[in-house]
């Protein structure tokens, strides 16, 4: 029963990893940007939730209708003013720019909010739980985070596979130059993708802040887990990202059951093992760039 419990808790934890990872997967799959500030943007989301929640005197969930559009707009602005410009200067420029952004965000947050760990007010949800059988207790908060991750990933998948917008995104991910050539306006398309990525990061940040605590430097840790989830799942595959996140979560909790000290190490070892055996990840996504024909 303890093991089953560990697996269930691990799967739920994996949902949180997938939620923060899906934005990373999207920006890398579509724009080829490894956004090193993605974790910090999630932490910014948590701080914004903290400020709004305190100012309005409501649980953090009630601030989401304000917080998510604000995060979306921040993503639009970042892509338009920063990442898009960096992309025009080769592959290294976006890495440097996002790294610089990451350092800036961490230091600005330390100045503005001090290094004290904070938590978000999750309302009644934070303490509620339900039982499966007699031994397994599942927190509603963890369950909500997991279901939210599944819902966000499903919505993104539907958007990508069923809408005209998604069609353009997939075409652009396949072949940027040709996408421009057939009349796709790449800049606004990239801006919306970045907006969605930052909004999902902020949502993940709210869950991180509600489930545990966060501080200005928490982003780096989130980034590593998110990055590993994306790589394990296969770049460009959203379902792969969910599976990758769950693999990380289950490994962490199950190994933690044996010895807490090795839990995080085991996660990184799993990542290395997958990288060694299947460098392209478990699922190669529909957005993976396929080689052009020999005549191309």
């Amino acid at each position: 029963m303890t093991w089953l419990n560990a697996v269930i808790q691990g799967l739920l934890l994996g949902g949180q990893y997938a939620l923060i990872a899906c934005g990373l997967s999207l920006t890398f799959g579509v724009m080829r940007i490894v956004n090193l500030a993605h974790g910090d943007l999630a932490v910014c989301g948590a701080y914004l939730g903290l400020v709004l929640s305190a100012a309005l005197g409501v649980p953090v969930w009630a601030t989401l209708p304000l917080l998510l559009p604000a995060a979306f707009c921040a993503g639009l602005a970042l892509q338009t003013l920063l990442f898009g410009r960096a992309l025009r200067h080769g592959v290294l420029a976006p890495v440097l720019v996002t790294f610089g952004l990451s350092v800036m965000i961490e230091n600005l947050l330390q100045v503005a909010a001090t290094s004290d760990p904070r938590g978000l007010n999750g309302g009644v949800l934070a303490l509620a739980s339900f039982r499966i059988g007699s031994r397994i207790t599942v927190s509603w908060l963890f369950m909500t985070a997991f279901l939210t991750a599944c819902a966000v990933l499903s919505c993104l998948q539907l958007l990508l596979s069923r809408t005209a917008w998604g069609r353009k995104v997939r075409a652009t991910a396949d072949d940027l130059d040709t996408a421009r050539l057939v009349g796709i306006r790449v800049r606004p398309l990239f801006a919306t993708v970045a907006g969605i990525a930052v909004a999902t990061a902020a949502l993940a940040g709210v869950f991180i802040g509600t489930i545990g605590t966060f501080d200005p430097l928490a982003g780096a840790n989130s980034l590593i887990f998110a990055f590993e989830a994306v790589v394990i799942g296969g770049i460009g595959s959203l379902w792969g990202t969910l599976v990758g996140g769950m693999a990380l979560g289950v490994t962490q909790v199950v190994v933690g059951q044996v010895n807490e000290a090795y839990a995080v190490l085991a996660v990184h070892l799993l990542f290395l093992a997958v990288l060694a055996v299947r460098p392209a990840g478990l699922f190669t996504g529909h957005q993976a760039r396929e080689p052009q024909g020999a005549l191309g």
Binding site: R170, T178, V182
Partner: protein, 241 residues
């Protein structure tokens, strides 16, 4: 340059210079295409044919010179603006979106369409061979089918001016024959064509005008009826004697 074209041309390219970094690919290229006509663009490898088509489509910026279409200066316009005015390119090597289905490829081509004159049904009417494969991934198609999808994707933009870059490359002669029959139908429907073709005989049979590029310059521009094959070959290889 077109003997019968008295009215203003559909497309007018004047003194176009195009660079790739320090390398100059086009030197003061001028070209005029009459509405409803078909122009063959020939020349050796590296003569600048693809560059010229890409410059007309907006994919390659011009350092100097101008591209005028229907009396509008489009020299600085990005591809989507040119498409919405009626210029579409079938790129060299087809360049389909391999992970998208045939139908999605065509739908993407309609992103900036100039009009609604080319709905999917009409396109499938022109290319019955791809209608049956509409739900298949484009990467699973044969070369001829892929080329048909590439043309269909450009048609979805409802172009008045269709630029075609080496559509017969690597295809069986029978397939090429079918594609050229389709182009003849498109011409009858009023579409103006500019095509790059390696096969000189086919190019001269399918078009009214011929432009031969040599090392980034126009070596010969004339109606096909006014030039002999020998003159074209001479221009092709730079033998100006």
């Amino acid at each position: 340059m077109t003997a019968q074209a008295v009215e203003t041309p559909l497309l007018e390219v004047t003194g176009l210079d195009v660079f790739y970094g320090d390398f100059q690919a086009l030197f003061g290229v001028s070209l005029s295409v009459a509405a409803g006509g078909a122009t063959a663009l020939v020349g050796a490898n590296g003569a600048g044919k693809t560059t010229l088509l890409r410059a007309i489509a907006g994919a390659q910026p011009a350092a100097s010179g101008s591209v005028t279409y229907r009396d509008q200066d489009l020299t600085a316009a990005p591809p989507y603006q040119r498409i919405s005015r009626g210029i579409a390119l079938v790129p060299e090597g087809r360049r389909l979106f391999g992970s998208l289905t045939v139908e999605e490829n065509i739908q993407v081509g309609a992103s900036a369409a100039a009009s609604k004159d080319w709905p999917l049904e009409r396109i499938y009417g022109v290319f019955p061979m791809i209608a049956a494969r509409r739900r298949q991934r484009a990467s699973t198609l044969s070369g001829g089918e892929q080329q048909a999808v590439a043309i269909a994707r450009a048609l979805a933009a409802a172009p008045s001016l269709l630029l075609l870059d080496e559509i017969s490359l690597g295809l069986a002669p029978r397939v090429v024959e079918v594609l050229y029959e389709t182009l003849a139908e498109l011409r009858k429907a009023g579409t103006t064509l500019v095509l790059v073709e390696q096969d000189l005989r086919r190019a001269m049979a399918a078009c009214d005008d011929l432009v031969c590029l040599l090392e980034g310059r126009v070596a010969l521009a004339a109606p096909v009826t006014a030039v002999t094959r020998e003159q074209v070959v001479a221009a092709y290889f730079g033998d100006r004697t």
